[in-house]
Amino acid sequence: MTDFESGLKDALRRREPRRDLTDRVMAQIGARAMPARRSFWPAVAAVALLTVTVAGAGEGLRAKRQLMFAVELTSRKLGVAQAKVTELSRRRIGRD
């Protein structure tokens, strides 16, 4: 690789998005996953990958912590939302 190509590599190095990007994607995935009442594990997997990809490959431990946090948070949020949907459906069936 020439000096010029090294310069290009430096100029085009990966950049970090704003921190709330992960939250926004999670919110959208959650919103889309809930109405159809599908399994939320694909959402968890997508967010996990998002966290790893956003964090970058060279940030091992930090990425791993973020990944665990994202998986845990997503599971929790989607779990709560799914329970609410189930509860609402039960009530509606009870009324009908």
């Binding site: 010029f4 190509e5 310069g7 990966r14 970090e16 959208q28 967010v47 990958l49 990809t53 970058g56």
Partner: protein, 151 residues
């Protein structure tokens, strides 16, 4: 990776985030078809590349990115100099769409021409010749700005 591809191509934070968001939502929609982590990375990269190209066309960013907007250096720069990097980034942004994406995939993502060809759906020979031409254009334009620095 996803955000960086879009940012380096569009050089607009909001648009790059939009592209990244769409790519992850698309991944979520297709999660059942994803077979491995490598497959997911390839899928994300491919979606990000095509969404960024579409967005670039839509916003006609190219016409707004004048190469002449690159500021003249106040002093002779070194390799690794932030000013030099910014100028190179802007010169890349001034390349035509496909050549720009090829340069980004080669130097940001470290992809081989065969992988780039697969993502863009064009022949490997076209990738190689576009890359060669793009580098030659960039060298000339850079030399015009900073004579002899990166030769």
């Amino acid at each position: 990776m996803v955000y960086s591809i879009a940012w380096n191509y569009l050089r607009n934070q909001a648009l790059a985030e939009e592209v990244a968001q769409e790519a992850f939502l698309e991944l979520h929609r297709r999660m059942a078809q994803i077979e491995s982590e490598a497959h997911a990375v390839h899928f994300l990269r491919r979606v990000a590349v095509h969404r960024a190209i579409d967005e670039g066309r839509r916003t006609r960013l190219q016409s707004r990115m004048g190469l002449e907007g690159v500021p003249e250096p106040a002093e002779r720069p070194r390799a690794g100099d932030p000013m030099l990097e910014a100028a190179l980034g802007r010169l890349v942004a001034g390349l035509p769409g496909r050549a720009r994406m090829i340069v980004i995939l080669r130097y940001q993502e470290d992809l081989e021409p065969t992988e780039i060809a697969l993502i863009l759906g064009i022949p490997v020979g076209t990738v190689k010749s576009s890359l060669h031409r793009a580098l030659s254009v960039l060298r000339k334009r850079m030399a015009r700005k900073w004579k002899g620095v990166l030769q």
